[in-house]
Each structure stands twice: as structure tokens, then as C-alpha cells.
């Protein structure tokens, strides 16, 4: 009993101790902001911080934000989390939100945020000049900042790349028992099928997806990395993955017998998706938010995207990473990535109907 009361009392001390940093950290974004409203005209030397809600992982964004702060003196506060809950939080907070920037992965999530009215349009000559038209929202609610290409990978032991051509061709019966796919619950596949729906229409897309399912060599995988390892181990011969996962596996083992094939080069190009950002509808620091997003579209941070995660720059510049360069130039699908978001729900239902788990 006295042990228990000891624990209780020590916890009460902790509780008292923690309520101090708590109130600090909670009020910080809002408070510094409201201070800033008064303080900025008087002393522009202390700019207001930018608050970012991000579904991109911390180790991929922190180096970028640190660099931004070093160059501009503007502090960046961020909260990372899963896309769905982050959007729900932004929506629930409404006008009271601390967030200035929503930075998320995948056009589908950006489209959903725009669709819920959570983003404000950005008028920026810098972004228009740096970011190609198909990687930004038609209404300028968000801009893509890095490009992720989803393409075909194959076993160098068992597949002649001359046999490969398009995503659609992987539905051909000649790949029966040789294809590996990641789960349809991953947004990357929802986006791929979403753009196919835009281009081919639902009936034809459904036939293709059914063909894929019939060709599966193994139950669908829960990650691209596992899929690549399965090709290397001989469980299947071809698959569809994001290129940076292959990059990660090759960095671990350069002799991995798996290679990349740029899909649909004769037709509409490789399916690409973006990580991108927009300014929140109720941003307290929209100027700082715009400055951050514009800065992320410039040469130095664009190169960092590639270095940090083997992705491609959103600007027409070439990746500085040798491994990424070694994959060669490719034609990317110039259909606006917004279509993937718009068709995402239809894609999910189509994959359910086709039995793609």
C-alpha cells in the first residue's frame, strides 16, 4: 500500500512537472503567431514560424526544414501522422487550426484535402515556373514537390526485358503464375488504377485488373520491398513497384538480380505520383507558408528530395544521385495527377470487384 502511494505521489509530481512544457508546447504555435501579428511589423527580424501538418516521414522532411530555417531564419514546426487522421484533424480544427501547410504524400490525399475545402489557392509565379502543369492542381490548391514513379521490375535471371512493355500487358496469360503485386489497399495502386480508369474507362480497366489477379504467383504483398525480395528469391518474375524501393534494396545488395523496366514508353509513359503541399484554408501565416513551399521547389531542396529518398525532382532537373541516374531518362505520364485522386474511390471499388485484395 505505501509503495502504491509512493508511486502515486511521485506521479503527481511528474504530472505537475509535465503540465509546464505541455502548456508551452500547446500554446507555442498559436501564441508566437498572435505575438507575431503584433510583432512582425515592428521587428521583421523575428519571422513567425510556419506550422506544417505532414504525412511524410520525419526523416525525409526534417533535413529540408532545417535547411530552410538556416537559409531564411523562419522556424518550421511540424506534426507528422497518417494522412486520414491528419485530414480529419485539420477538418475538425476548422478556423482554429495552427497548421499553415499541409504536406502529404500522394495526389489522392491532396485531392481529398482540396475537395473538403481544407486548402487555399496559391498564386505564385515561382511555383508555376518550377513545377510542370501535370504535377499541380488545376485550381492551384496544391503543388507536387517530388515525383515517385511506379513501374515494372523483373528478375534478371528469368525474364528477357524485351518481353515487357506495359502495365496492361502484365494481364496477358503468358505471365500466369509469374506476377507479384502489392495489396490494393496501398494508395499507390489505387492511383495507378485510377489513371487507367481515366484513360481506358472502367470496363477495360476491370478486365486488366482481373487479368493481373489471375496471373498472381503469390498472395499480394504488404510492402514493395517484400515484393522485390520475392522476385529476387524466385517466388515470381515480374512486379510493379515504386522505383525508390528498388533503389533501397539495391543499396543494401548491389548484386540483387532484379532490374527496373520503364513501362508504357511507347504510349502514355510511366505512372507518376507526387508528394506535394498546399496552404491550409485557415492558415495563420500564409506568407510564410507560401515562402516555404516556393523554396521547396527550388534547385537545392529538389536535389535533396532525391538524395533523401531516391525520388525524382518535380522540376525538370535531373536527379543528382548516381543510382537514380543509372535508371536512365524516361517519359512520364503527363495526365494531371489530380485524376488519380478524382478516380480513387472508383478504383478501390473496381479492384474489390475484380477480387484484387
Amino acid at each position: 500500500m505505501n509503495r502504491l502511494s509512493l508511486v502515486c505521489s511521485s506521479l503527481l509530481v511528474l504530472l505537475a512537472a509535465c503540465s509546464e512544457p505541455e502548456s508551452q508546447s500547446v500554446s507555442q504555435p498559436g501564441q508566437t503567431e498572435s505575438d507575431a501579428v503584433v510583432a512582425v511589423p515592428a521587428s521583421p527580424a523575428v519571422p513567425a514560424p510556419v506550422v506544417v501538418y505532414s504525412s511524410r516521414q520525419e526523416h525525409l522532411i526534417k533535413p529540408l526544414f532545417d535547411r530552410f530555417t538556416a537559409e531564411t531564419g523562419i522556424e518550421v514546426q511540424y506534426q507528422t501522422g497518417e494522412e486520414g487522421p491528419l485530414l480529419a484533424r485539420l477538418e475538425a480544427e476548422g478556423e482554429a487550426t495552427f497548421a499553415d501547410v499541409l504536406y502529404t504524400v500522394d495526389a489522392g490525399n491532396l485531392w481529398a484535402a482540396a475537395n473538403k475545402g481544407l486548402l487555399a489557392p496559391i498564386q505564385s509565379a515561382v511555383l508555376e515556373a518550377n513545377i510542370p502543369a501535370h504535377l499541380q492542381d488545376p485550381a492551384n490548391l496544391w503543388f507536387g514537390l517530388s515525383v515517385r514513379a511506379r513501374t515494372i521490375v523483373y528478375s534478371t535471371d528469368r525474364v528477357n526485358p524485351a518481353e515487357l512493355s506495359t502495365y496492361e500487358a502484365l494481364a496477358d496469360a503468358k505471365w500466369r503464375g509469374k506476377l507479384c503485386l502489392r495489396t490494393s489497399k496501398k494508395v499507390y495502386n489505387m492511383s495507378l488504377v485510377g489513371t487507367m480508369i481515366e484513360r481506358l474507362g472502367e470496363p477495360q480497366t476491370e478486365e486488366i485488373v482481373k487479368g493481373w489477379v489471375a496471373n498472381l504467383a503469390a498472395p499480394v504483398f504488404s510492402s514493395d520491398s517484400l515484393l522485390i525480395q520475392a522476385i529476387a528469391a524466385g517466388q515470381c518474375d515480374v512486379g510493379i513497384v515504386n522505383t525508390y524501393y528498388l533503389g533501397q534494396e539495391l543499396q543494401k545488395d548491389a548484386t540483387l538480380p532484379v532490374a527496373l523496366f520503364w513501362a508504357n514508353q511507347g504510349s502514355n509513359g510511366v505512372h507518376v505520383n507526387v508528394s506535394g503541399a498546399g496552404i491550409t484554408a485557415h492558415a495563420k501565416n500564409p506568407a510564410g507558408a507560401q515562402q516555404l513551399i516556393e523554396w521547396l521547389s527550388t534547385a537545392e531542396p529538389q536535389a535533396m528530395f532525391s538524395e533523401l529518398n531516391l525520388e525524382f525532382p518535380a522540376t525538370p532537373a535531373v536527379s543528382s544521385v548516381e543510382l537514380v541516374q543509372s535508371w536512365g531518362e524516361f517519359q512520364q505520364d503527363t495526365l494531371n495527377v489530380e485524376a488519380a485522386g478524382r478516380n480513387q474511390a472508383a478504383a478501390v471499388m473496381l479492384m474489390d470487384r475484380a477480387g484484387y485484395q
Binding site: 500547446v26 520525419e58 487522421p85 491528419l86 480544427e93 482554429a96 489497399k185 504488404s222 474489390d352
Partner: protein
């Protein structure tokens, strides 16, 4: 003989019961806000429901039932048999196994899942070695199916049954078994007819926890890509962008729980299970010959696959990826994790105690569990455990932003609550009240009403009964409640992710940011740190239960 209470006491009772309803209602608010989503059933929602019914709802319900059935059988067999061995039998290493067998509790389900998938998939080390030796691993069982998920979930969930059953067996001691044997039952019959039924409330409590966590689990099933009801919730939310349908689906999970709890309630009927007060006799059965080595072997096997193997794999990954991850921020992650866990565990256990006691306040002088408002609101408040963390977090967020708007109107302050430690702790309380409730209830259930009546008739005031009778007798249950909630909060990811204050990263948040893109190896370091932190409360329990055992041995002398 029950005394007729003084009017002032009756008034006091009403006040306390009112307080109980209010406390339970606060905890239940987020759950109610999820249920309220049934108010919206527009065109979009109907299209999705029709689609779900047409394509997969039957398969998902079936998968969920299979999972529940498999996990119940496996956690019961493992939990009860291991608890019986370590509490009632004597064999080499018993004292070590007694606490070591709780350790798998500190391993988050998704970590166990990705370790086992990485080890045993086609490209993993086990099957690769088999192919190198024998040329084929085609006969190797597929693990990405119901069997694999059941195994993984059971390995992390059996400690709930184990811990509660162990406490129950310890408190009934040997005298009941001896009495049964003297009355002519053989040892097997004595176990099934006496020891097991007396431990039943505790076992049912532990099993209910394991099943609720199974229902809410998203991590392990998504690693194995096994479609359950929960995966449909996330597809509706993340894939179809419809949070309303997601919440509606989630509220159906509560239906599973209500049905299960009702079944247990009716099958127990009016039976009450009270142990004979404090355990009088802790002499254990000496296992001899082959039996003792069977016992050692079983404990080693379970400890091996549920703890040693995953820890070894995590260690290998930490070595492979190097310690580049390790920096001073880990101290911060650890600090936040421990602080949040202890705060939430304290608040939740105290609340469970208060609600449990209020539920049992005397009516017309008779101590028994009634069926009033308090009972119903407590039952509602403990349902949060069956909801997936992020869905419940959204419910909490809705409640808090609503409160924030009100505060803003009155006090002109913005967003005090959302993103505060207070809100996060309330989220934990809502999610884990059931976890503290089960051991506390099991403990209260085993206290004979006659003891209260005796204390009262000897003139003890209600507060004195609470402090000198109830709490001391409940001690093992309270400590179990504290530890279970502590460990659960440490592992909790979705609610922490979305509700943590700025900069309050915990170890679980760190694991998430590493695994979000499938880089499991890099999550090994925070996962191992989490495991080490999980040892702290387990060791606390070991020390306190050792002391308790000493105490009661001293008493029996």
C-alpha cells in the same frame, strides 16, 4: 444481517452513483460521437454500403469470426495452462518463468507480425535455407493467412489471460483444490470443476481484452494482408475518403463485443465466484520426473517463440542497420513514452477502481452488483478498447474541438484541448479503461459481500471499508491494471500519432515513421527500446508479487 442504512448514507450513495455515471459518460463521449455517425446516411454512404454488401462484407465478417475463434482458443489454452503451472506447481525455473512469461505483452502486435513475416516468408531466411538444403520449400506452409495472424496475435495477447488467471489462481490457493480432492474428485476433475470455475471471471476478463484487441487490430492484419472488418474500415476511410462509413463500420465492431459479453453474462447466470478471502496456503504441487521437464519445456517453447525469437531478430536488424539512428532524441522519446504511460495508467486504474466501487455501493444495505444506470454507463465506457485507435481518436477529436469551440466562445481561447497532454491522456483512458476494468472487476468480484457487511456491522465507515478492506484486497488487481495499461499505452500508436502535442514524439511514433514505408529493419531500434522500457513495469510487478507471496506465507505460519 443487512443493516438498514441511515438516510444520510443513502443520499451519499446517490451522489456517488451520480458521480459514477458522469465519469463514465465523459469516457464514453468519444464512443457516442462515433455511434452518432449513423445519423448521416446520404447517397455516398449508401453507395459504399451497397458496394460492401455486394463484394466483401460477408468474407470480412467470416474472416473476423475465424480470427476471434482462433485467438480465443489459443490465448485460453496458453494463458490458463501457463498460469496454472507457474502459480500452482513447483518445477525448475518456475520463479523465472513466472515473470518472464509476461514479457511478450511489451511487444506491439505489428512488430511481432513483421518479424514473423520477415523470418518465414518465401524470401526470408528460413525458407531460403530450406531451399538451399533440400532444393525446395514448396511444402512450407503459407503464413500469410488466418493461421499466421492467429498465431502472431495469440503470442502477443496470451499474457492478458495469463496475468489475470495467475492472479486468480494465486488468490484461491490450494485449499479449494484440497477440499475438492478430499471430497473425492480426482485432480483433473478438481481442476475443471473447482479451480477453473472460480477463476472464470478473471479468465473471461482476460479473454475479453484479448478479443477486443483482436477486433481493433489493424497493424498485424495489414502486415499479413489478412482482410478483416478493421481493414474495411480503413479502406472506407483512406481509400474511399468516407469517414462516416468508416465510423459506422467501426461501431459494428462494438456489436461483436456486446454480443460476446452478453453471452458470457447469460452463461454465467446467477453464479457468483468468491475466493475464500486471502490465500491461506501457497504450497505448490511438486512436479516430479517427466512432468517437470514437460513443464520446463512448455515454458521455454512459448517464451522462445513469443519473446526470444522476435528480440533476436530485432537485435540482428539493429546491428545490420547500425546505430546511426541512436541519438540523444531517444532519451526524449523514452521520457515521453514513460511519462504518458505512467500518467495514463495511474488515471485509468484509479478511475477503474472508483467505477468498480461505485457499481457495488450497497442498495438498501445489501452489497451486490445491481443493474442501474451506473452499470450501463460503465459498460458503455469500457467498449472503447474494441475500436481501432485512429477511429476512436477521431471521435475524441470531434468531442474536443466541439469543447474548444465552446471555450473559445466563452473565454476567447483557441484550441486549448486538442493537441494537449490532457486530451491525449483522456484518449488513452477511453481506449484502455477496459484493460484496467477487467483486473479490478475480477478482484472486486472475488471479495465476499459478507466481508463488507461484517466490516460495516462492526461500525467501519464506508471510507474506512474502502481504504482498509477493499484496496488492500484489490492490490494485486490494481497493480495488474496499472501495468497492463502502462504497457498498452507505450505500444499505442494511432491515437498518439494524431493527438500528441507538438514535439511529443514517443517510441511508438518513431516506430510508425520507420514502418510507414515498409522499412522494418530501421524500426528495430525504437522497437527494442520499447521492449526494454516494457521491462520496467514487469519487474515492478515481480518485486511486488514476491513481497506479497512472502507476506502471505508469513501470515499462514
Amino acid at each position: 444481517m443487512p443493516m438498514s442504512p441511515a438516510p444520510s448514507l443513502r443520499r451519499q450513495t446517490v451522489v456517488w452513483q451520480g458521480l459514477g455515471v458522469v465519469l463514465a459518460a465523459i469516457v464514453a463521449l468519444p464512443i457516442l460521437s462515433i455511434l452518432a455517425q449513423w445519423g448521416t446516411l446520404g447517397f455516398g454512404e449508401r453507395v459504399i454500403w451497397q458496394h460492401l454488401l455486394d463484394t466483401k462484407l460477408d468474407r470480412l465478417a467470416f474472416n473476423t469470426l475465424i480470427l476471434l475463434a482462433g485467438v480465443s482458443v489459443m490465448v485460453s489454452v496458453l494463458g490458463i495452462s501457463l498460469a496454472w503451472l507457474v502459480s500452482m506447481c513447483q518445477f525448475p525455473g518456475r520463479r523465472f518463468f513466472e515473470w518472464a512469461l509476461m514479457l511478450p505483452l511489451a511487444i506491439p502486435g505489428y512488430v511481432m507480425a513483421f518479424v514473423y513475416l520477415a523470418l518465414f516468408n518465401y524470401a526470408g531466411p528460413v525458407q531460403t535455407a530450406l531451399r538451399n538444403w533440400t532444393g525446395s520449400s514448396a511444402w512450407f506452409p503459407e503464413i500469410q493467412n488466418a493461421g499466421g495472424v492467429i498465431l502472431v496475435l495469440s503470442l502477443v495477447l496470451y499474457p492478458y489471460v495469463y496475468m489475470l488467471a495467475r492472479t486468480a489462481f494465486l488468490s484461491q490457493g490450494r485449499s479449494m483444490m484440497d477440499a475438492a480432492r478430499i471430497l473425492g474428485l480426482d485432480s483433473r476433475a478438481a481442476f475443471f470443476k473447482v479451480a477453473l470455475p472460480i477463476a472464470r471471471p478473471a479468465i473471461a476478463g482476460g479473454l475479453a481484452l484479448a478479443l477486443m484487441e483482436t477486433l481493433a487490430d489493424f497493424g498485424a492484419v495489414s502486415v499479413f494482408n489478412f482482410d478483416t472488418f478493421t481493414t474495411a474500415i480503413y479502406t472506407a476511410w483512406y481509400g474511399l475518403f468516407n469517414l462516416t462509413v468508416a465510423a459506422q463500420l467501426a461501431s459494428l465492431l462494438l456489436l461483436f463485443v456486446v454480443v460476446a459479453l452478453t453471452l458470457e453474462h447469460y452463461s454465467r447466470k446467477q453464479a457468483r465466484f468468491h475466493a475464500g478471502g486471502r490465500n491461506q496456503d501457497l504450497r505448490r504441487y511438486q512436479l516430479k520426473g517427466a512432468a517437470r521437464w514437460w513443464a520446463v519445456g512448455l515454458c521455454c517453447l512459448i517464451l522462445g517463440i513469443a519473446f526470444v525469437v522476435p528480440v533476436a531478430q530485432l537485435l540482428v536488424w539493429v546491428v545490420q542497420t547500425g546505430l546511426v539512428e541512436l541519438d540523444t532524441r531517444y532519451l526524449e522519446f523514452l521520457g515521453h513514452t514513460l511519462l504518458l504511460a505512467s500518467l495514463a495508467a495511474l488515471v485509468t486504474s484509479v478511475l477503474a477502481l472508483i467505477l468498480g466501487v461505485i457499481k457495488r455501493l450497497p442498495r438498501q444495505g445489501i452489497y451486490s452488483e445491481g443493474k442501474g444506470w451506473t452499470q450501463h454507463s460503465v459498460r458503455l465506457a469500457t467498449l472503447g478498447y474494441a475500436l481501432p485507435g485512429s477511429v476512436l481518436a477521431v471521435g475524441i477529436m470531434l468531442v474536443f474541438t466541439w469543447l474548444d469551440r465552446g471555450l473559445d466562445r466563452i473565454l476567447d481561447v483557441q484550441l486549448l484541448l486538442v493537441g494537449s497532454v490532457f486530451a491525449l491522456v483522456l484518449a488513452y483512458v477511453t481506449r484502455f479503461l477496459a484493460v484496467a476494468h477487467a483486473p479490478v472487476e475480477a478482484g472486486l468480484e472475488s471479495i465476499r459481500p459478507s466481508m463488507y457487511e461484517a466490516a460495516r456491522s462492526l461500525g467501519a465507515s464506508p471510507s474506512r471499508v474502502l481504504l482498509q478492506l477493499t484496496i488492500p484486497m484489490l492490490r494485486p488487481g490494481l497493480i495488474t491494471a496499472f501495468i497492463l495499461v502502462f504497457v498498452d499505452v507505450m505500444k499505442e500508436m494511432p491515437a498518439t500519432l494524431i493527438m500528441r502535442p507538438f514535439g511529443w514524439d514517443t517510441l511508438a511514433v518513431r516506430i510508425y515513421s520507420m514502418t510507414a514505408e515498409g522499412q522494418w529493419e530501421r524500426a528495430a531500434l525504437p522497437a527494442l527500446t520499447l521492449l526494454l522500457a516494457g521491462l520496467i513495469p514487469v519487474l515492478m510487478l515481480v518485486k511486488s508479487s514476491a513481497k506479497q507471496a512472502q507476506g502471505s506465507r508469513g501470515q499462514s505460519r
